[in-house]
Amino acid sequence: MSAKAEIEIIEEYCKGCSICVEFCPTKVLEMDAFVVKVANADACIACNQCELRCPDFAIKVHKL
């Protein structure tokens, strides 16, 4: 499977709340200490849930 979007994480804004990790339906994201990271880029279906729910403007979904 190939990624449907490229996920951009703005590390200076991310507060590590893990909302995006929890609501990503395909487990693309993972916590890395206090900041989120893309762990499984290929699984992204570009659903936009992470960008929509992030309270900190810290994650962007760029559709491919």
């Binding site: 951009e8 200076e12 804004y13 507060k15 590590g16 709340c17 893990s18 909302i19 929890e22 609501f23 960008e51 929509l52 729910r53 992030c54 309270p55 900190d56 403007f57 810290a58 962007k60 979904v61 760029h62 559709k63």
Partner: protein
């Protein structure tokens, strides 16, 4: 392309001060999308707040903004709308700001049906000052000032607004992210006093004290308790126990205050 929120935010203001997981950031994103939907011009829009974590919101927004005294958002907003009726006026703040110290201004803005949109972020607590109970802290829940559980019944903000005379009243939650912008946009387009109550979460001052393991747990609770009005119409009182209605709860057309005031001036000056 990712959604361009930055164009509505003052340069250099992010990251914001809200705690990890605080629902106010989710509401702010919804507000930005709603304002985009309505095509609001920066120079013709004012965003007004009182004091509290929720009331920090206007400081991030690249519009005309006022951060006023605790509870006084509706009063200052009324002043702006009276002087500049052509402006779109948006109020925002917390449950404490809007229904405790500011309760009086809130109900009288509703009574007058002045054309503004009030987004009230109800996280059931005074977040900023360390978690004292608010008029919206549910009975039995813990606040720093109710360590044995809150004995008081709550204000239902939406019902309060309807009772006081607001002509557009809607409720959603920070879990229902896309509904936030739809309802705020509908409120902005409505002529008269619009109140949008957004149930959101304060993990720091409310969640921890009430044994929520994470903000995600708090959001899942919001998902569980919310029932859309249409679905609720088919449910029994028993099934609705502990639920909160979401969607447009009330809407009517009624004479708007600044219009009536302009008519009064014309009549008196003409006489």
């Amino acid at each position: 392309m990712a959604y361009d929120y930055e164009k509505s935010i003052r340069p250099g203001k992010l990251p914001h001060i809200w705690c990890p997981g605080c629902g106010h950031g989710i509401v702010m994103k919804g507000l930005i999308r709603a304002m985009d939907t309505c095509g609001l011009e920066k120079n013709n829009t004012a965003i007004v707040s009182g004091i509290g974590c929720a009331s920090r919101l206007p400081g991030y927004m690249d519009f005309n903004t006022l951060h006023t005294a605790h509870g006084r958002a509706a009063a200052f907003a009324t002043g702006i709308k009276m002087v500049k009726p052509e402006m779109t006026v948006i109020c925002c703040g917390g449950d404490g700001d809007g229904t405790a110290i500011g309760g009086n201004h809130f109900i009288h803005a509703c009574r007058r049906n002045i054309d503004m949109t009030y987004v009230i972020m109800n996280n059931y607590i005074y977040g900023m000052t360390g978690g004292q109970f608010s008029p919206c802290t549910p009975t039995g829940m813990k606040a720093s000032t109710t360590p044995y559980g809150n004995p008081d019944p709550i204000f239902d903000i939406s019902k309060l607004a309807i009772g006081a005379g607001a002509t557009f009243v809607a409720r959603t939650t920070s879990f229902h992210a896309t509904q936030i912008d739809k309802l705020i946009a509908e409120g902005i387009k409505h002529k008269g006093m619009s109140v949008i109550e957004v149930l959101d979460d304060c993990p720091t001052s409310y969640g921890r004290r009430n044994k929520f393991r994470s903000v995600v747990d708090m959001m899942k609770r919001l998902k569980e308790v919310a029932v859309p009005v249409a679905a609720a119409a088919k449910m029994t009182d028993e099934q609705l126990e502990g639920k909160v209605l979401t969607g447009v709860l009330f809407k009517e057309e009624r004479a708007e205050y600044t219009d009536q005031y302009a008519k009064l001036i014309a009549r008196v000056q003409g006489a």
